[in-house]
Symmetry: D3
Subunit: 259 residues, 6 copies
Amino acid sequence: MANPLKARLQEGKIALNAWSLLPSTYTAEFMVQAGWDSITFDMQHGLHDYTSAVACIQACQGHPATPLVRVPWAEPGILGKVLDAGAWGVIIPMINTVDEAQALVKACYYPPLGMRSNGPVRAAAYGVASPYQTIANDEVLILPQIETREAVANAEAILDVEGISGIYVGPSDLGLSYELPPVLDREEPEMLEIYRDLLKLTKDRGKVAGIQNMTPAYGARMAEIGFQLITIASDGVFVGRASREAVAATRKLVGDRKI
Amino acid sequence: MANPLKARLQEGKIALNAWSLLPSTYTAEFMVQAGWDSITFDMQHGLHDYTSAVACIQACQGHPATPLVRVPWAEPGILGKVLDAGAWGVIIPMINTVDEAQALVKACYYPPLGMRSNGPVRAAAYGVASPYQTIANDEVLILPQIETREAVANAEAILDVEGISGIYVGPSDLGLSYELPPVLDREEPEMLEIYRDLLKLTKDRGKVAGIQNMTPAYGARMAEIGFQLITIASDGVFVGRASREAVAATRKLVGDRKI
Amino acid sequence: MANPLKARLQEGKIALNAWSLLPSTYTAEFMVQAGWDSITFDMQHGLHDYTSAVACIQACQGHPATPLVRVPWAEPGILGKVLDAGAWGVIIPMINTVDEAQALVKACYYPPLGMRSNGPVRAAAYGVASPYQTIANDEVLILPQIETREAVANAEAILDVEGISGIYVGPSDLGLSYELPPVLDREEPEMLEIYRDLLKLTKDRGKVAGIQNMTPAYGARMAEIGFQLITIASDGVFVGRASREAVAATRKLVGDRKI
Amino acid sequence: MANPLKARLQEGKIALNAWSLLPSTYTAEFMVQAGWDSITFDMQHGLHDYTSAVACIQACQGHPATPLVRVPWAEPGILGKVLDAGAWGVIIPMINTVDEAQALVKACYYPPLGMRSNGPVRAAAYGVASPYQTIANDEVLILPQIETREAVANAEAILDVEGISGIYVGPSDLGLSYELPPVLDREEPEMLEIYRDLLKLTKDRGKVAGIQNMTPAYGARMAEIGFQLITIASDGVFVGRASREAVAATRKLVGDRKI
Amino acid sequence: MANPLKARLQEGKIALNAWSLLPSTYTAEFMVQAGWDSITFDMQHGLHDYTSAVACIQACQGHPATPLVRVPWAEPGILGKVLDAGAWGVIIPMINTVDEAQALVKACYYPPLGMRSNGPVRAAAYGVASPYQTIANDEVLILPQIETREAVANAEAILDVEGISGIYVGPSDLGLSYELPPVLDREEPEMLEIYRDLLKLTKDRGKVAGIQNMTPAYGARMAEIGFQLITIASDGVFVGRASREAVAATRKLVGDRKI
Amino acid sequence: MANPLKARLQEGKIALNAWSLLPSTYTAEFMVQAGWDSITFDMQHGLHDYTSAVACIQACQGHPATPLVRVPWAEPGILGKVLDAGAWGVIIPMINTVDEAQALVKACYYPPLGMRSNGPVRAAAYGVASPYQTIANDEVLILPQIETREAVANAEAILDVEGISGIYVGPSDLGLSYELPPVLDREEPEMLEIYRDLLKLTKDRGKVAGIQNMTPAYGARMAEIGFQLITIASDGVFVGRASREAVAATRKLVGDRKI
């Protein structure tokens, strides 16, 4: 299908998702050369705006990673814009209710399922034989974030909304909502229990579950329990951590040496 | 003094230099938070142009790393522009002769030493009590790259040019010039011999020697033999390597698992 | 009046509207030199964001085409921003109800008609003798798009809202809404019937009707039946089509020739 | 505290606020060198978008002025983004009701006070020893604009909403709302009476009142009656006025002289 | 080979070259979808600078057209930068002498043929199994422009310089040099004679000849007489001409009609 | 004529020239609304690069001020680019010899006077009935800066070079060259003597003399002694000075007041 990430997910395979905070086509290129199955340009907590997100989608066009966008908020204008620009999926923060999920579907799908406005300026131009508009409703991934108590309570009903492709768990916000510290890679048993409940809901419906992680080890554990779309860290984490490690290692070796 | 890197070098201390290939103020910020003594925005092989280099110098203003620029070529226009923008030092590729070194001095120093044109638009605006123009000639670091056979042959004379602050070794070009592969962190005895010869020249004159390295271990060895300005890898290397490692580690743990 | 497009429309003349998808001041300049009466910078399906739209309005300042903006969505923040930036009219997608039309008026007009916030940063600075704020309510064009069944049903009531200057028909979305393919230059009799009904409503009220077209021939037919603001294709269509034609024509002439 | 402006305000001191209309890191630098206590990047009537506002926050990082942002509208997506980018306060236009004030608090504060989503990409990276997330709720300034009759009527209730740090008066919109011309530095006794009423409300609650002014003289009078956050003119006003004065003065001196 | 354009040229096939004046990744995408064999980003007379040229090379990465750059001038700094950025060929204006041709080779080839400095930041990262540095000297196309009387006189010697891949004729400058008007698609017999002489020189050496044309018909004639790299018009010409034609056609059909 | 500044100068009138350091189309617009006869975008000591200079020329298109550019250095590539972009004049730093002046003429004029390459992409597109190429040699202003002892010594010969339109005095560099502080608005009798000598040379040849000044008063004095193109301060000076004055005035009025 036109969306390789969706094809992979439908085969039941695990997909590794790169996370781009940095509004730079060059970091995007460095990232997508690493073999990720998809890359998400984060317009919410990342430093992306619409223009940088589109530029990055362009810059990654020749690479196999499928481009996704996390929008800043569930607002119809930006949802339409990033899909028109060629994102094959969107992650949407803070979807807590069925009403919000239905509004998402309305914004992201062409009639009759939704009310997405026609005009896929970049999306229609590339790589697919059939007209984009006839396949878009089958190809795009719409992944609301489950990241509050309220969203957990409503998760089943949200997942039952036609057009919702699955869920994406935001561990730090979910933690805050339960009065826990805002970290990824959570170990609290009650949180892991929530993850398992959510995974049962997605599995029963043949839908996707994704999650944000900090480390390969934790991400792999999440794949083991049923998450399929596994994000590891981000470009910002990579450059910051590697930079600090290089300084520390060199300073240690050099010591107080003077020339 | 106004240039903390120069102060550190004059105390005989080793300085760790970050290398910025990526024309992004955000990667620059991530880099400078890591504790480097300086950061070089590379307009030659990096993806920087003038505008990104200045924006990065601005973005790093509140951090302790001293901003340097590697210019694309020894051209008076760009040398003046990056100094005016607030770089406290420049690294200049492919300086092979005394004439080229003298032209550098002419471009980078105010009269009477050189012919730099007056107009330090950003450089004059910050952080120093005395007017910039009265201190600039004492503060800026002018580091020609020694990276060809011809430059090695002329190194002593180049270093004798008043205003040349030292040298910066480009190991991959230097290797190419000796028909060796274009790598950093060289181990060929004849190359290490050249390094030692160059270090003797700089030491005898109380001038600085810098070198581009790939790893902390090699960089520390170079500090041990007398290099003082030690660059380790680059932001691009960091993000690319960490990204590949994350994918590899996660894929290995996940294996062929399907959900 | 300060808005030449509105003056032209009030004289009953047909106005030709250029359509800008491409966020480039250079394509904008090439477009406005061609003699259009207005140019719309499309932030919905086009690749414009706010910054590119303003830059294009600036770049076209010395040309006779009146600048309009299609906003991504009927959101008060962006409506105010593009008017403040100097757009003399806005086209707003997916206005389906009287409530939505009234919210539009509230966002786009100064008190007492609306609640537009004062601060016309670029708009107030140019070309009009009287203060912008005293004329803006008389000069700006507010054109909601009629592009769904629901909007057609509510068109009369929408047009009766004070401050709504007319309508702009989106043929492809309107088609989708009636389960027809998403094309411009429609020929279905039931759609042409809808157009005629809408034109009767606008004519009766002395308001404007505009429509998006692909070809001069179809656009001229629309002018003949009563549409007054006639858009033909877009900058993206022009560059893409001319490029493909040049390749095809040259390849045909050259054939399999080798040198 | 991490927010020097808030610290100053809590000490009861007057704070002078620079106003940035121009989306340029260079004008921002020129402004912050002048000694303001804070600088507001105006995304509503100014020419800023998100990307320019963040770039300006970066560029001012090394200077003492605390960065604030006026958002284009009270929309949760952009409120989160500018706080994540490092703004220590937000000014929000057209807050007229308690519901709107409560929605603001929900968007701007972490649980349990609000529902701000976690991910302070730049904000968490600088200058504070303790994790940003543990201090943010105590440090950020949330200043709704009181600029309509309705807002004046609801001002007491708005100020009673927990998390609302105070108010920011928009004199020109407030005037429009009372059918007065849209100017700053108002002299109508009924308006000054409104100001005094508002100041009594803020003073009684130990909250902040700010106001937009055109001249030092008027701004100082406002400080005298109790406003604490005093904005004077803007970068655009400064460059425009000084430019006109230079032309006028020179033309007058030169007269009709020819060479 | 890694450079598909060079492969095509070596097979003796005609190659159609798109010409990009507009510094926009979006016009670049529209262009490369049209089936050109290569696309040249023009930094001399086009509106490109380094940053836009690299962004366009990125944006075209997934398309078959090989990216070339025309540099503004034969200056080593920019020659190195565009090759490092991933251009597989450069067109260089105003090469009139053997010395200038030799300097070109020095700047564009790695040792031992030239002195290009090592650091192919983007060029090395994509699509080739072997390291870029080992193939670059075999893959890049170096095409000096022959566009003055002097260059015509020296053409044979220029073509004899090792590393010069062929020539690119600039018809309008060549005309100016012979006191003819600065047009493309020349018909003066003496100019066509010059073209034939140049083509004999390139053919005898198995080198490439390219030429700038305005129309498919003329371009095809040039292919017939032996030019192999055939440029037709430009993106700017396409958008400007199509825009004027649309206005003219619609105005003619609409006439003086009023609604 | 097509160049209003040149027309004014030929009438013997004084022309006031705005100086743009800031690479912002918005400051450029604020500046040109003030009534200057020309505006110079400074790529040498200003923060402009090519892209910002062109954008500013575009943004000022609808205003009467004639656009000029000061290039960073006398390099043929950038001279051609800014003229092609629509600058009607160039100011060139550090022209000290007749050879340098002749190289300038070669770069800036079409044959037969020079060797400027044809392709005036923006310059040819606007506002002149006759083709740009036939008038450019008569319209462009080529103003080398006289700002060293050597240049003063060679001024007569430089002015005798055909195509040199006059001179532009850089007082701070000229001062540095005579071991004086680098200031504008000089009062040293020997410097004023030099100015008078230069003015005699330009007057005798009917050529233009321009000069950089800080204040209207000094600029008017320079007009009185024969300078015709009078620059006053810059956008950066305006915004910085007005900002500092506003802070100082308000602080003084407010004193230590607390609320």
